[in-house]
């Protein structure tokens, strides 16, 4: 077994970073909307 080529590793890392960023953003947006919805329901 040889180590995977650097460009393949970097391309996978770049994609993983982008997906993690998108998921974090989605989580923050969802938490925001849940808070607003809870406030609306409990009013």
């Amino acid at each position: 077994m040889t180590n995977p080529p650097d460009d393949l590793v970097r391309s996978r890392q770049r994609r993983a970073t982008r997906i993690t960023a998108a998921l974090l953003f989605a989580f923050i947006a969802l938490t925001f909307f849940i808070t607003i919805a809870k406030l609306t329901v409990n009013r």
């Binding site: 996978r12 969802l30 919805a37 609306t40």
Partner: protein, 299 residues
């Protein structure tokens, strides 16, 4: 010189992580959970309802990932599963474990935040039941694995209902019973025609341990209480005639197919057309029944 690339040294590919969540199984879990939520009385804020369904999906995905992490050795022995990311060597087992644990924990926390403690507690228990009771404890030990383990897949309508109302009523309990009793005929129909796969992996599925004749009898026997559980909400006044008639017709069709399975004497997969038909129909049956329940509620 060996020039093969070690894919386990690579960062995980998102497609492999997605495959860990068993997306096809998740479809049915999410659908029944959504139907449980929509069939519940009262109104739930759309954002909170969306989050509750998302949590059911995340929880099912996390449990599926943990199941694949624990069963990688079994999956490698079966033709049906040897292409999965872990047995195929495309994913590091530690990544799968962390991914499954993270998804499961996130689903429970988010459910508690968006819905209520009861829905979060049932979700947590269903994940524990699928991973701890079914995968780790029962699957490799008893031919009744699918009977008790099937309860794990029966929780979503209860979770959906609990998320919407904060309590449990008779209808979601009957829906739980329906999926619980549907699971054995559904899985045993499949395991009859992939019996050699399970035997090769050493999994004590009923057709491997007790043989096809006994399994076919059990398929027909489980279909009767399943059909009663499916139709019961109508005479009990919990649903309207639309759901009742759909449940009656489809349950009769299920019963006829299970009798065809019972009458079949084939021992090789090539002669198991009734088993394949029953397996395919059983998926359609559950989708149609839950769909009819929601339409009945909305009308």
């Amino acid at each position: 010189m060996n020039t093969a690339v070690s894919t386990r040294d690579l960062p995980a590919d998102w497609r492999d992580l997605f495959a860990l969540t068993k997306p096809r199984v998740m479809t049915l879990v999410v659908f029944t959970g959504l139907c449980g939520l929509l069939a519940a009385p009262g109104h739930m804020h759309p954002v909170l309802a969306f989050t509750a369904v998302l949590c059911i999906a995340l929880g099912a995905g996390g449990a599926g990932a943990l199941n694949q992490w624990y069963e990688a050795d079994l999956d490698a022995k079966m033709r049906r599963t040897q292409g999965r990311p872990l047995p195929a060597g495309r994913l590091d087992p530690r990544t799968a474990l962390q991914f499954g644990t993270g998804l499961s924990a996130a689903s429970v926390i988010l459910m508690d935040l968006a819905a209520n403690h009861l829905a979060a507690a049932i979700l947590a228990f269903s994940i524990f039941f699928y991973v701890g009771i079914y995968t780790v404890w029962l699957k490799r030990r008893t031919p009744q694995n699918i009977v008790i383990g099937g309860a794990a897949g029966a929780f979503p309508p209860l979770i959906g209902w609990a998320a919407a109302t904060g309590d449990i009523a008779l209808l979601p309990v009957l829906l739980f019973g329906l999926i619980f009793l549907w699971t054995p005929p559904h899985f045993w129909a499949l395991s009859l025609f992939v019996r050699s796969d399970y035997a090769a992996a050493g999994v004590p599925m009923l057709p491997v341990v007790a043989g096809p004749t006994h399994t076919r009898r059990q398929v027909a026997l489980y279909t009767v209480p399943m059909a009663i559980c499916a139709v019961a909400p109508w005479p009990l006044g919990l649903t309207g005639a639309l759901y009742g008639l759909v449940a009656l017709v489809l349950s009769l069709a299920f019963l006829v197919l299970s009798l065809l399975v019972l009458a079949n004497k084939a021992t090789e997969p090539a002669g198991m057309k009734p088993e394949k038909q029953l397996f395919g129909f059983s998926i359609l049956y559950l989708f149609a029944l839950f769909g009819a329940l929601v339409v009945d509620r909305l009308l």
